[in-house]
Amino acid sequence: MFNLPTTNIGGPELFVLEFGDIVTYFSPYTAALFVFALIFTVLAIVSRPERQVDFAFGGDAYYTKVVDPDLLRFQRFMAIACGLATLGAMVTGDVFNFTLFASMVGITNIGIVAAYRNRHVLNAAFQYGIVAMLASIPLFGGAAIVLASTGTLSMWELFGGAMAVPLIAKAFLVLGVMGEGMAPFYIAKAEITRAQGAPFILMVHVSSLLLFLRVTEIVISM
């Protein structure tokens, strides 16, 4: 419809959906990311939490860990919300819209991590929360500089090469997504992947990975 200019990166446009000025598009690249995110969102919806057993070393004793239904329900909700935000960030055709979806991914990641009661996990969630909140400044600052220096936010215009996007705006965008997508570092450290109710943690990793892939495409194309 609008002829996406940079066919050498994202490929030709496959499908276009207009929300006013925000024109969502699927290129082979973003469609692949979208399908990937969709698969993991469906997995988060249908998967059941692990019911873990701890064996005491050197004896017959073992503990079965209880999965709290409230925690399970909340984390599943957060994982699905995170998946939906990732889906949006993958296909959006607008820089500011992308930053909004990225910050929503950050907030839902905090929600998934902060739901545990473990002290180490909560400490990691607090630290990640600080980073995610701090990251919203460069994230939205980057979008603001893009708008101020080019006069538009639509990726369809920005990808053309006719607009000169300042390097600092791209640096801000990448820095912001780095902060929002930093959650896997904290998760690996706090060993949440081994906590009860684990499968929803997967969504944190998937969303961060996909956000990085998408922001790379945006920054290279602009």
Binding site: F2, E18, F19, G20, D21, I22, V23, T24, F74, F77, M78, A81, A85, G88, T92, D94, F96, N97, L100, F101, S103, M104, I107, T108, I110, G111, A114, A115, N123, A124, Q127, I130, V131, L134, A135, I137, P138, I145, L147, A148, S149, T150, G151, T152, L153, S154, E157, P166, L167, I168, A171, F172, L175, M178, G179, M182, F185, Y186, K189, A190
Partner: protein, 154 residues
């Protein structure tokens, strides 16, 4: 402290502590912000703005006045006007109460835009409607987290 550790070991020891990651990110943010401040004078402001705005302090709707006639065609600049064929139709519409507020005082512009039936900012709600949806979703998720954490122990 073993004296002859490789540089990679030292780096990985530092970033393996969760508390250090925040400081590391803050350092990175400071570096980029300083670069931004240095390069800011070289960024030219594009005068041909898509979502331009003129301020008229005399208007009773002051910071939000976009002009126009109710249900007439107010020109609203959009990136893709063909996607928003009805942009500009209800920009200037006020409910009777809002109109009364606007006629009475000069200091209620924000109140008028913030209460139901006030100014409809079509750039926000018509041409950039998806942004509004995502913003409210972020708020909803944030309130969801807060209420879950607050009520968890009861």
């Amino acid at each position: 402290m073993t004296p002859n550790r490789s540089i990679i070991t030292r780096i990985s020891v530092i970033i393996s502590r969760v508390e250090n990651l925040t400081a590391l990110y803050a350092l990175l943010a400071i570096v980029v912000v300083v670069l931004g401040l240095v390069s800011l004078p070289f960024i030219a402001y594009q005068n041909d703005q898509l979502y331009e705005k003129t301020l008229d302090p005399e208007s009773t709707l002051d910071p939000y006045d976009r002009g126009g006639v109710p249900f007439g065609t107010t020109p609203v600049k959009a990136q893709y006007p063909e996607n928003s064929p009805y942009a500009g139709y209800v920009t200037a519409y006020l409910t009777p109460f809002s109109q009364w507020l606007a006629d009475t005082t000069h200091h209620m512009g924000t109140t008028i835009v913030a209460h139901p039936g006030g100014i409809i900012d079509e750039i926000l709600y018509n041409t950039r409607g998806l942004d509004t949806v995502v913003e409210t979703s972020i708020l909803f998720v944030a309130f969801g987290i807060a209420s879950y954490l607050f009520r968890r122990d009861s």
